[in-house]
Symmetry: C2
Subunit: 220 residues, 2 copies
């Protein structure tokens, strides 16, 4: 996988330049290809995003098949990006990820990697924290955001464009992809080689509009 | 702001190495300081995260005042990171950000920067998409995740440790910080100079456990 930093105006980009370099892409090369191996590399990088308790709520469905992309596009307001981008990543939240985590951390204790008392505290806290399905769903959304940001930066590093998308029918996506009940589609990231004539970086609010220090005196 | 990439094993880090370099930090230097200017730089970098329609839902409350941090810690299960980290970023979701967006995009059309029809389409779509308060809240959570990931990478680039946190009482935080009703605390990111003896990178699931291609055959 080509994942070199591109030369910036001096030599290499700083992390703040890396963050500014990624922009949301509207137009992809419909002949672009991303291999299964490259998809796995991108997802490995996305997995570096943190998660609550290290539960790792996010699952990734990568769609490259043109027929499946066509059906997803119909369930996503016919947005062209869905079929034109080489790969459609559907990020799923796992509503029961905390249960698997409890099993994992207890197994780690049984294997002597974690003190038993620590493991039991972590397992019990995670299980009670996410017993409420709304809490679990909301964690899936936060985690999808964390994972998606990492995924898009990894794509940028690989010379691919990307775009996050939320305009789609999650239940239609569930049926098309055969998503089991315990997962829910939280967001999409499309990625692939880009076409010309993309718009570039969209303007951001001034930092003074979005930041307060030691208080929250924002307009009501 | 020092925001250089640190030398990797060859020379500079690739983006995948940047993502792996950031780890969640448990122990911060309680004498560590992050200046208001550096806080603003970090937030500017976090603002590079994308948002639905470019609505920019995330607001940042940066808390450096020891007395306020002490009160937040009491409302966050007494977690030491809250007072030991130099700065506590409380990321707020703006439940009415789409309304401000509609005003902005219509103003851009009035100024001749965007075709009037396009602006009206975008404004109308955003207003209808987020008229449902649950949709608006869920977008705030996704956006907080996107923003938090960018913020933590920016902190890493500035030589600071960071940690995302969700274990806190949002209504208590609202009262302590004076957060107006239209915003809700979506997550915390603490950041600052680190102390010794942090644990390092936590293990991730194998990519084959979290990725499927052209289908969603995950365990039910």
């Amino acid at each position: 996988m080509v994942n070199e930093l591109k030369p910036g105006k001096d030599s290499y980009m700083s992390i703040s330049e890396v963050l500014a370099h990624r922009v949301s892409i509207d137009h992809f090369d419909p002949k672009g290809v991303v291999s299964d191996a490259q998809i796995a590399e991108l997802v490995r990088s996305a997995q570096e995003a943190p998660s609550s308790f290290n539960i790792q709520h996010t699952r990734f469905v990568a769609v490259t098949d043109p027929a499946i992309k066509g059906r997803l596009r119909e369930a996503a307001f016919n947005q062209a990006k869905i079929t034109e981008a080489a790969v459609v990543f559907v990020l799923l939240g796992d509503l029961r990820a905390h249960e698997d985590y409890a099993v994992r951390i207890r197994a780690a204790a049984a294997a002597g990697h974690v003190p038993a008392g620590v493991a039991e505290y972590l397992a019990g806290t995670a299980l009670s924290f996410y017993a409420n399905p709304t809490a679990s769903r909301e964690e899936g959304l936060r985690s999808a955001g964390l994972s998606a940001m990492a995924l898009m930066l990894a794509a940028d590093g690989a010379g691919l464009g990307s775009c996050p998308m939320i305009g789609f029918d999650p239940e239609a996506f569930r049926k098309i992809l055969g998503v089991p009940e315990r997962y829910f589609p939280a967001m999409i990231v499309v990625a692939g080689p880009t076409a010309p004539n993309n718009m570039g970086r969209k303007p951001r609010l001034d930092v003074n509009e979005v930041l307060r220090i030691n208080g929250a005196e924002f307009p009501g």
